[in-house]
């Protein structure tokens, strides 16, 4: 199988969209937080918590969408904690974020061990199934890639559109963008900076958790400890790469996932036999760093990102 053949195959593009889906959720979640001025480094841990919460809820008998809801609520809980510490108390967003990641991850692993003691292989659930959209899924290449996915993938794409509309076409979206650029002027408008930022962090964290849940409920059907494996950090790079815009972030996630799907297939070709597999596994992380470097000159960082706002202080 050579390179052209890989790029032309429908299964490759279908895989790329599948790999992109959790990244889209989490990247959009991080994007909402950062647009409001809060860097949420809790993302990695929140994804772990979401992956576990959704999966265990379904395993305990909830319907699949109920599991997605549970994951979202779990993520929002950690988001609320992040918000209280970083927004209300204005603590260092770096330290709070790393703390939330450590807390969410260890709490998840602890709960796993308590809920399922002495289990060597985690139980499987009945995960989301592929839903083929009639007619559209019959289009060659694009059809199987875009229109023969699980419902969560469709939700991810819908969400990107909804967020682009919400952020740029509604008063609330304007307020959220403004609070990330100039919180003082938002306060002068009589709006609550704290409420807007808290809301954005809680909502964004919920999305990150759904991204994690995609892994256990759609991509796979079980929970493993190293499941998220740095995807959260990659999403932070994707937000920068997407210049803090939902549409560009969506494209960035797909591009990134396509590259990831490509390296997996490349491993099985003649090239793969000569190059150590670790090099392939490194590619997503190296690509993220390259994306950050490439975009560093052009990126339009929200002006008040990582700047806490204390009312009455000037």
């Amino acid at each position: 199988m050579d390179v052209i053949e890989i790029l032309m195959s429908a299964s490759f593009w279908a895989a790329a969209i599948r790999i992109a889906s959790p990244l889209i959720f989490a990247t959009l979640g991080e994007l909402v937080c950062e647009r409001a001025g809060v860097l949420n480094l809790g993302i990695e841990g929140i994804m772990v918590a979401g992956a576990f919460a959704g999966w265990i809820a379904v395993w305990a008998g909830l319907p699949l969408w109920g599991g997605v809801g549970v994951a979202m609520v779990a993520g929002m809980g950690f988001g609320a904690l992040h918000g209280v510490l970083s927004v209300l108390f204005g603590l260092s967003q770096h330290v709070v974020g790393v703390g939330i990641t450590l807390l969410a991850t260890s709490l998840t692993f602890y709960t796993y061990r308590v809920a399922l003691p002495e289990v060597s292989t985690p139980p499987k659930i009945e995960a989301f199934q592929v839903y083929e959209i009639p007619i559209l899924s019959k289009i060659p290449v694009i059809g199987p890639a875009l229109f023969a996915q699980t419902p969560l993938t469709y939700l991810a794409f819908g969400l990107a559109g909804a967020l682009a509309w919400g952020l740029y076409r509604t008063p609330l979206g304007l307020a959220i963008r403004a609070v990330g650029e100039s919180p003082a002027s938002v306060a002068a408008q009589g709006l609550s900076v704290a409420a807007l930022r808290m809301g954005a962090v809680i909502f964004g964290s919920g999305l990150m958790a759904v991204g994690g849940a995609f892994l256990t409920m759609s991509a796979f059907d079980s929970f493993f400890f190293d499941m998220v494996n740095g995807r959260g950090w990659i999403c932070i790079a994707l937000v920068v790469f997407g210049a803090w815009r939902p549409g560009k972030a969506l494209l960035g996630a797909i591009l990134f996932a396509a590259f990831d799907a490509f390296q997996i297939r490349l491993q099985q070709t003649g090239i793969g036999a000569h190059v150590p597999y670790q090099i392939f596994l490194m590619m997503p992380y190296i690509l993220s760093i390259l994306a950050l470097v490439l975009m560093s000159r052009r990126a339009s960082v929200p002006a008040a990102l990582m700047v806490p706002f204390n009312k009455g202080e000037r």
Binding site: G90, L102, L103, R113, M282, I289, V293
Partner: protein, 349 residues
């Protein structure tokens, strides 16, 4: 709500919140232990006994504290200058790799020369590994949190490649592990017969050295100035970017020492699971120590005691060891909050 700085905090204001924070993290852990079906008094009893209950336990705690002192110092030095080094894990492995490359027979020097050589090269290599994200930060404004985090994943994969390729032990029966160090490259024990190696001594020396640098040298002053207000530091004529790069070299070097000390002092060879996240735990250690170099030693001993104690508690009481990680994460979050409350009054409006 609104935060109001307190100009002259009372003694109670400065002491009570941190104490409450530590107590609260214990309380949360007790609650979680009960959920897992353990008796909290028994659980904490077992943790203390497991960490300090015997000569073996105390030595184990000191050994466990050694890498944490190094990574804690690495993080403290960097965070003081507001260089957010979350990549101590990768720098630790860099130190370990250098130790194995030089210490498995490639350099046939006596111990008195070989050990200093390994230390110098390991420190330089670890420093350079952090220099890359630091340069990306100073030159291009790329956030070092994400790059150092991503470096961890890249470097661990690189170590995995080395252990299955060039550094693989030919006598290792196919396991991905390096050859054993020659005896000249091993750190001796501090006291014959006691299972405590000189890595611990080096860690204490490093902490003292960092304290001296911080307190009595221009570099220490410059690093603090850059951390507190880079703009003001620049205005005062401090070369901000060079100071950040020097900080990176120092921080990365300290983290690499953790890897050197683990391989040369404790394990004798390199495996993929050399560090159970010492680089990340170093962040908790540094924050609990309020980024003070001597405080890092105390915090590392505390954290190591909890980890060692939790291991033996888990075997006896059946409560998962992750309880220790939860305790440390809550302690981290609550301590930073407590420190804020010592300096600010929370006002409702």
């Amino acid at each position: 709500m609104r935060l109001e700085p307190i100009s002259n905090p009372t003694l109670a204001r400065r002491v009570v919140p941190p104490a409450v924070a530590i107590a609260a993290s214990f309380l949360i852990a007790a609650l979680l232990a009960m959920i897992a079906g353990g008796n909290p008094f028994q659980v904490f009893g077992l943790i203390i006994q497991g960490a300090l209950g015997s000569k073996f336990a105390i030595l184990e705690t000191l050994n466990r504290a050694t890498p944490l002192i190094f990574t804690g110092l690495a993080v403290a030095v960097a965070f003081r200058a507001k260089l957010w080094n979350i990549g101590a894990e990768a720098q630790l492995y860099m130190g370990a790799v250098v130790t194995v490359v030089l210490g498995t027979g490639a350099v046939a020097w006596p111990a008195g020369l070989l050990l200093p050589l390994i230390v110098v090269v390991a420190v330089l290599a670890g420093g350079i590994l952090l220099l890359v994200p630091a340069v990306l930060k100073t030159r291009l404004g790329v956030d070092e949190v994400v790059t150092t985090l991503l470096f961890n994943f890249i470097f661990l994969l690189f170590v995995s490649y080395l252990l299955e390729g060039p550094l693989k032990d030919p006598m290792g029966m196919g396991w991905p592990k390096s050859a054993r160090l020659v005896s000249e490259a091993r750190l001796p024990r501090i006291v014959d017969g006691l299972r405590l190696h000189w890595g611990f001594g080096l860690a204490l020396i490093a902490a003292a050295a960092i304290w001296v640098i911080d307190r009595f040298t221009t570099l220490g002053f410059e690093m603090r100035a850059v951390g507190q207000n880079a703009e003001a530091a620049r205005f005062a004529g401090i070369p901000v970017n060079p100071v950040i790069l020097k900080t990176a070299l120092l921080s990365g070097g300290l983290a690499a020492m953790a890897g050197f000390s683990e391989v040369a002092g404790l394990k004798g060879s390199l495996t993929q699971d050399l560090s159970p996240g010492y680089g990340y735990t170093g962040i908790v250690v540094a924050m609990l120590a309020l980024l003070h170099p001597l405080g890092v030693v105390v915090a590392a001993l505390f954290v190591a005691a909890i980890f060692v104690g939790a291991d033996s508690m888990s075997r006896a009481a059946g409560v998962p060891t992750y309880l220790a990680d939860i305790m440390l994460a809550t302690a981290l979050l609550l301590t930073v909050l407590a420190i804020l409350i010592t300096k600010f009054r929370v006002r409702r409006d």
